[in-house]
């Protein structure tokens, strides 16, 4: 009897937990978007930022585009389990009938979900993951974040022109980190600099102290850093404690390190650090002010970072796709409508390139400075319209 009762109970639980199926989904007015983000685990800040930005956009612009009301279905993939991301994408497409997938906090997660987008023929808007190869993995991928070479090459150029002749790179050991390492070396050596050591830190549970000790021993003029969003605080704390600044090592990096979300709490050690990136909350434009205000309406105590900008632009892209197709469900039409689209984002002018489906945008060289009691990345140089695959 045991098995009988328990199995029945189990099935009852399935029905209860999963709710009434397809009846409510038949109406055509709603356009469902599956938003898959790391909402728990080490990369939860990425998920929180993007979710808040998406909600901010919808509050600011209304929820209907091209005659369709959009509905967001949020799912947590914990940031470290690509097979979960993939399963969630599959479930969203098959069961919830979403007509677009969005989010994707880290490269492995985006790569795992790419085949689902191809097979289901739904647009997949990558709002965060930044390895260059991602859009090549499915003709349905569009990207609104950035690529690492895009941010790294301007940084290398600036370093070579500003008195840094030797540098060590320290990157997280996964696809975007390796992307950044390669791009930095290419550009930096082309500009006459020399990379004396290339260090790779593990993606999970990293301890930066021993790596930074090795940097101190190598004593380069500059240290180029890439770590995923949220990890920068730990690196810069160790950087200060190991006395690298006193040893004459200048830290530079992609903006991931001085992520706006945590920048203010990183304190004095980061003041003066120069990074290159596509978005700073301190960017001076009407679009950015409107974005900041909308974001504050959703998350009063947080400052939006570049992840939020990617989420905000990602949902804008979906909205434009809907407007241009008159609210189509057809994935191929939606993607076609996105190709070549240009608009002014909170970060500045951007374009979704028709051939790569990737984003072309301005890159800024910024210096961390204290203004009105808070630390900001203040932009002081602009490299206009950098292509994603430079």
């Amino acid at each position: 009897m045991t098995h009988l009762t328990l199995t029945r109970r189990g099935l009852g639980a399935v029905a209860l937990a999963l709710g009434a199926p397809s009846v409510a989904r038949a109406q055509s007015g709603v356009f469902r978007i599956g938003l898959i983000l790391p909402m728990t685990g080490p990369f939860a800040s990425t998920g929180r930022q993007i979710e808040a930005a998406v909600r901010a956009y919808l509050r600011q612009h209304g929820e209907s585009f091209g005659g369709r009301r959009v509905e967001i279905l949020l799912r947590d993939d914990t940031g470290t389990q690509p097979d979960v991301t993939r399963r969630l994408a599959q479930e969203l497409v098959v069961r919830e009938r979403v007509k677009a997938l969005a989010g994707f906090g880290l490269t492995p997660l985006a790569l795992a979900a790419a085949p689902i987008a191809t097979e289901a023929k739904v647009p997949m808007v990558v709002m965060a993951a930044a390895t260059s190869i991602i859009p090549s993995r499915s003709p349905f991928i569009l990207r609104t974040s950035f690529t690492l070479p895009q941010a790294t090459k301007p940084m290398a150029q600036w370093a070579a022109r500003n008195g840094i002749r030797s540098a060590v790179t320290m990157v997280t050991d996964y696809a975007p980190g390796l992307d950044a390492e390669k791009a930095f070396k290419e550009q930096f050596t082309a500009d006459g600099g020399q990379v004396t050591a290339e260090l790779r830190t593990p993606l999970r549970n990293p301890d930066y102290a021993p790596f930074l000790q090795r940097v101190r021993d190598a004593a380069p003029q500059g240290l180029f850093i890439f770590v995923p969003s949220g990890e920068g605080a730990a690196v810069m704390k160790q950087f200060a404690e190991r006395g690298l600044a006193q040893a004459g090592v200048r830290p530079i990096g992609t903006g991931d390190v001085l992520d706006d979300d945590i920048l203010n709490d990183m304190g004095d050690p980061v003041l003066g650090m120069v990074t290159a990136h596509h978005y700073s909350a301190a960017h001076d434009s009407a679009e950015n002010r409107a974005f900041l205000e909308a974001f504050r309406g959703i998350a009063p105590n947080a400052r939006p970072n570049f992840m939020a900008a990617g989420g905000y632009d990602g949902v804008h892209l979906i909205a434009e796709m809907l407007k241009r197709t008159g609210g189509s469900d057809d994935g191929e039409k939606l993607v076609a409508a996105a190709k070549g689209l240009s608009w002014t984002s909170p970060r500045g002018p951007v374009t979704i390139e028709a051939d790569t489906r990737d984003i072309r945008q301005d890159m800024y060289i910024r210096r961390a400075e204290r203004r009105d009691g808070q630390i900001w990345n203040i932009e002081f140089d602009t490299i206009a319209q950098v292509r994603p695959n430079i």
Binding site: G10, A13, S22, R48, P82, Q90, V94, R95, L111, Y174
Partner: protein, 307 residues
């Protein structure tokens, strides 16, 4: 009557295929988790060898099947068997290390081996894809007929069939003289030895069998999702397997099935209802079940029936 009872979970599992056609990816996840819990049950529940590193075999199975398919041999059944073989081999090789050390130290050895394997897979990015996961896995249709579809129909039926066959085999194993001797060893190893049971050899065999089962579960995951990542080797995977087993009830094969089903469904329902705070509620649920039902869900059911 008894035969009917044994048949019921399987009828329910096949019924679920028709009743919940939109939940097939989740259902295959349950079948795979159940196979992994079954593997742990043979080892922990029957042989009494505790482990914290069972994911090593799961991951090895996943990467074996995944890499085979990626390198051009995508035939699922032979891939599954090879993955089981590889995992069993690793189990047989490491069993003496684990058993030699004794209970608590043996636990550390299992943990150590799984950590080593994790880091090896992380560093050998040219084979495994490292932290980015194994890309480009292409699995051929099952028996050359059923291809793995977006809806997950083939994935579920294939996983369920493998689970069913291996469950039958497990039932034969635990009821055989070999299985009885394992229970004897768990009850009192010294007395079993005094009775002439070759304790170490029996436990090593159980270890290798459990490893093969875990390898099969890993291979199923890699084949049905056409993907493998480091997560398959993670400590969390080992711990979740143990949780499922304790939740369902140790030392009864149906306990493993029940535990895996309940665990995966609760995980799914809670993380969907509250994407940000689900882990808290999940913890609450685990504590409550652990306190309310000693002997897991199976024990709880038995006590309810007796009343």
């Amino acid at each position: 009557m008894r035969a009917l009872l044994h048949g019921l979970p399987w009828v329910a599992a096949v019924g679920a295929y028709f009743a919940f056609p939109e939940f097939l990816p989740l259902l295959s996840g349950i079948a795979i988790a159940a196979l992994f819990a079954l593997s742990l049950d043979i080892l922990v529940g029957y042989a009494g060898v505790v482990t914290l590193g069972h994911a090593a075999f799961f991951g090895l199975g996943a990467y074996t099947a995944g890499i085979l398919a990626q390198q051009g041999w995508g035939e699922p059944i032979s891939g599954l068997l090879l993955a089981m073989g590889a995992a069993a081999l690793l189990g047989a090789v490491t069993a003496p290390l684990v058993l030699r050390a004794g209970d608590l130290a043996g636990l550390m050895v299992t943990l150590g081996i799984s950590l080593m394997l994790y880091e090896a897979a992380n560093k050998a990015a040219f084979v495994t894809g490292g932290a980015d996961g194994l890309q480009g896995v292409e699995v051929w249709p099952v028996l050359g007929i059923w291809r793995f579809d977006l809806w997950g129909r083939t994935a579920y039926l294939y996983s369920l069939a493998v689970l069913f066959l291996l469950f039958l085999l497990a039932m034969l194993i635990v009821r055989s003289p070999f299985g009885l001797s394992l229970r004897g060893i768990r009850g009192n190893a010294r007395r079993a030895a005094a009775l002439g049971v070759p304790v170490k050899r029996r436990l090593a065999a159980a270890y290798a069998i459990a490893a093969a089962y875990a390898g099969a579960a890993g291979a199923l995951l890699a084949q049905t999702t056409q993907f493998a990542s480091l997560d398959a080797l993670s400590f969390q995977r080992s711990a979740e397997g143990l949780l499922m087993l304790v939740l369902g009830g140790l030392g009864s094969l149906y306990g493993a099935l029940l535990g895996a089903t309940a665990f995966t469904l609760a995980h799914h329902a809670l993380s969907e209802a509250s994407p940000q705070f689900w882990q808290f509620w999940f913890g609450v649920a685990l504590v409550v079940v652990a306190l309310a039902g000693r002997g897991g869900l199976v024990g709880l059911g038995r006590r309810l029936l007796r009343r």
